[in-house]
């Protein structure tokens, strides 16, 4: 008998259908992955099992746990099941813990709330669980508060809370999406180990096929509230009966063909750049301390070159970006664009800035909601001494919109009328409009669904052909950098630790950190050639 059985589950929230006729089951000791893009209903499926749905939710169908029907179970019994029989791990470890309670208390609370054992035993069990998830009490005191831990450590605490009573089912909703790739690998190992050790069933929700490819026993693919395909992992990858599964798979490891370029002339030259921040003083009368966010970084980007910059959060990527744009002064070294410094003592050098533009990560936050598209994408004209006006200006807007695959009519719309992918196209149009020599892509595809991401990457490759682009592509995502750049820099703690041609670095990393990164990055399995639409270059 299955541990968890969902049959014909329908869910609507305030009359809006969210899930349609969802079937899935989890057996004891089994790992089931539910995957799909945003809006597929994968997270809502998980919350339906927990019966933690928003107000106005209406469920029909069957959700059985160990033979108990959950959809009709009264709330008090459901409370007993939650934390007792079912544990749950969430996406955002930074906000999933109560900031004003110690981690030890929060883990012990799971035990105490179920009256499972007396207080001192509960405390001992909490410490034992923290040790099991890799936070031994002698090194990570249970009296610490969440803000004193890193994201990965907090996620370990959340896991300890979820498994404290050894539930039979563990639900993990995008448990590693907010984490760095090396931390992700550790958390995935931890979850796998726990399933084996406790014999739990694991229902894992993720948007990333690669994460579950070598972990899940079975995969359930969802789209728009429906299950489109389900099966044992190997079988599913081998057959891919549904075109959507196939599309997801291909988009996840999407490969673009960059046109070959001969590069010789230096465009951007970064020479032993150091950027320091003053730390808040720890004592009243000591010297101020500094944090070196960028530490002696040097590299050259040639005209026509597509350079990648990879590194985990906090490595100094963003600080370096701001320095290259001349938005902040540097404390050592020099940044030259076309031979001229990007920052002078009077502030940013706008004559140099004219040659650079940037595309940001967040497709929702990077536009003023009160302006029309025409005004939004012509904002960089401010950098020109005599920007085009009248019909010349509207022609330029139309051309930029066409270049990114949008219609010139879109110029009169507001930004909320566009989807995330379309907004990222508008962001690229804004960068193109003054025909810069260099574009900085700052995590420009990281917030997008895989299918949208694939199309934006195609657009970038196509613009390389038509617009003769040079760019610096900054990302934490190795697979994206692998396909979209010629050369790559690996950054760690403010320093460039490895530099080389992209293919060379990925196939033969020399620095141990690069190797760790590449090993930690989840990969999709190789499958038979008939399913390959794009040949590997």
């Amino acid at each position: 008998m299955s541990l968890l059985e969902i049959k014909g589950l329908n869910l609507s929230i305030a009359g809006k259908p969210i899930l349609r006729d969802v079937d899935l089951s989890v057996a004891k000791g089994e790992i089931i992955a539910v995957t799909g893009e945003s809006g597929s209903g994968k997270s809502m499926t998980a919350f339906s099992v927990m019966q933690l749905l928003p107000d106005g939710a209406d469920t029909t169908g069957i959700i059985r746990l160990n033979g108990t029907e959950l959809t009709t179970l009264p709330e008090p019994q459901m409370c007993t099941l939650r934390g007792g029989q079912i544990g749950m791990v969430f996406q955002e470890p930074m906000s999933a813990l109560n900031p004003v309670k110690t981690i030890g208390d929060q883990v012990a609370e799971t035990i105490l709330i179920h009256d499972a054992m007396p207080r001192h035993q509960a405390r001992a069990r909490a410490h034992e669980m923290l040790a099991r998830v890799g936070l031994p009490p002698d090194r990570f005191s249970p009296s610490r508060f969440p803000h004193e831990l890193s994201g990965g450590q907090r996620q370990r605490v959340v896991i300890a809370m979820a498994i404290a009573l050894r539930p039979s089912l563990l639900i993990a909703d995008e448990p590693t999406t907010a984490l760095d790739v090396t931390t992700q690998a550790q958390i995935l190992d931890l979850l796998k180990g726990l399933v084996r050790e406790f014999g739990m069933g694991l229902l894992m929700i993720t948007h990333d096929l690669a994460v579950v490819a070598n972990m899940a026993d079975r995969i359930v693919v969802m789209r728009a509230g429906e299950v489109v395909e389900a099966g044992a992992t190997q079988v599913l990858f081998a057959s891919m009966r549904h075109p959507y599964t196939h599309m997801l798979f291909e988009a996840s490891r999407h490969h673009v063909n960059l046109p070959q370029k001969e590069c010789s002339e230096a465009l951007l030259s970064v020479q032993s750049v150091t950027r320091e921040y003053r730390l808040p003083r720890t004592r009243l009368f000591t010297q101020a301390e500094y944090h070196r966010a960028v530490d002696g970084v040097s590299f050259t980007l040639k005209k026509g070159e597509r350079l990648g910059l990879v590194g985990e959060s906090g490595c100094g990527k963003s600080t370096l970006t701001r320095a290259i744009l001349g938005l902040e002064p540097v404390q050592g070294g020099e940044i030259l664009m076309n031979g001229a410094p990007v920052y002078t003592e009077h502030g940013a050098n706008l004559n140099v800035r004219r040659a650079m533009q940037v595309v940001f990560q967040d497709p929702f936050g990077s536009f003023n909601p009160r302006h029309r598209v025409a005004r939004l994408i012509t904002e960089p004209y401010h950098l020109l001494p005599d920007p085009p006006t009248g019909s010349e200006r509207s022609d330029a807007v139309a051309e930029a919109l066409r270049a990114v695959g949008l219609s010139p009519d879109d110029a009169q719309k507001y930004i909320h009328e566009f989807s995330g992918g379309q907004r990222q196209r508008i962001a690229i149009a804004r960068a193109l409009i003054i025909k810069p020599d260099l574009i900085l892509f700052d995590e420009a595809v990281s917030a997008l669904d895989v299918s949208v991401r694939a199309r934006i990457l195609d657009l970038v490759a196509q613009l390389c052909e038509t617009h003769d682009l040079s760019y610096l592509f900054i990302s934490h995502d190795l697979s994206v950098v692998h396909t979209i750049t010629d050369r790559v820099l690996v950054m760690k703690s403010g320093r460039i630790v490895e530099e080389g041609s992209t293919d060379e670095v990925f196939s033969n990393p020399r620095h141990p950190y690069t190797r760790t990164l590449i090993d930690a990055a989840p990969v999709l399995p190789e499958i038979d050639p008939q399913h390959r639409s794009q040949p590997h270059v």
Partner: protein
């Protein structure tokens, strides 16, 4: 638009209409004494009765509302005129010396309870409506400075502001072009709330003699006069009080309704 906003807007509109009407017409001349008819209970001739000098209370309330609104509007305008530029300026470089100077000065002003400020100003310059306005106006400056700085700071973190910086726009220009239009909503809401507070402040200061001076009618002064006679003629205290409650409820409902309507996430400073 919610029901609260409708009720609030109607109530505010009614009070405004009464105040404007008093410019051209009141049932009786508010200053006309009629000692034989003093302390009359409400009747057809005097819907809200008469006071201890036989003056028509309805007429006095209409003019009193006008006075209250005038005092509150000017004081809020002072707060807006100084507070917004200071808040925007402070937000341009968080933690910079301009920010520090502006915010520390604000803290010092904030440390003066409104009444202490009014007492100080009155003790030196004598009681008057103008001095009440100045006291409440000064009190409003840090309120609006904080609200606009807070709203602006969260916007400065947004990528579209970063994009404008990349486009080479100066901080001053970004403040005017991108920041101000995006914090207008919260400023309107806070303005409504300070307006309501202004009505209450005018009444309280006039009640203790630090605000509007006779013969100008004011709701607070009417209540001060009523104190002596409230036990024998309760109506002379009840109606001016209800008028104050009416305006304040109307404005608060409008402010809360506007906040939910414009953006449910914005927060206001309640003092």
């Amino acid at each position: 638009m919610s029901r609260g906003l409708w009720i609030g807007a109607c109530l505010t509109g009614l009070m405004l209409a009464l105040a404007l009407l008093s410019l051209v017409w009141t049932p009786y001349a508010y200053e006309k004494l009629d000692i034989p008819n003093k302390l009359m209970a409400p009747s057809l001739a005097h819907p809200m009765g008469t006071d201890h000098f036989g003056r028509d209370i309805l007429s006095m309330i209409m003019v009193g509302i006008r006075t209250s609104i005038g005092v509150a509007v000017v004081a809020v305008a002072i707060g807006l005129a100084f507070g917004i530029p200071l808040g925007l300026l402070a937000s341009q470089r968080k933690g910079g010396w301009i920010d520090e100077v502006i915010m520390r000065t604000n803290d010092v002003i904030f440390a003066f309870p409104l009444l202490a400020m009014a007492i100080l100003i009155t003790a030196v310059f004598g009681p008057s409506a103008t001095n009440a306005i100045v006291a409440f106006g000064i009190f409003n400056i840090p309120v609006f400075a904080r609200v606009s700085r807070g709203g602006a700071l969260s916007l400065w973190e947004r990528e579209f502001i970063f994009a404008a910086q990349v486009a080479g726009k100066s901080r001053l220009r970004i403040s005017a072009e991108h920041i101000l239009p995006n914090i207008l909503g919260i400023l309107i809401v806070q303005g409504t709330i300070q307006f309501a507070l202004g009505i209450q402040v005018e009444a309280a200061l006039s009640f203790v003699g630090l605000g509007v001076q006779p013969p100008t009618p004011s709701l607070g002064r009417m209540l001060a006069d009523a104190q002596t006679f409230v036990t024998i003629a309760p109506h002379i205290a009840i109606f001016p009080g209800l008028a104050i409650i009416g305006i304040v409820v109307g404005l608060n409902l409008t402010g809360d309704g506007l906040r939910d309507w414009l953006d449910p996430r914005i927060r206001v400073v309640r003092t």
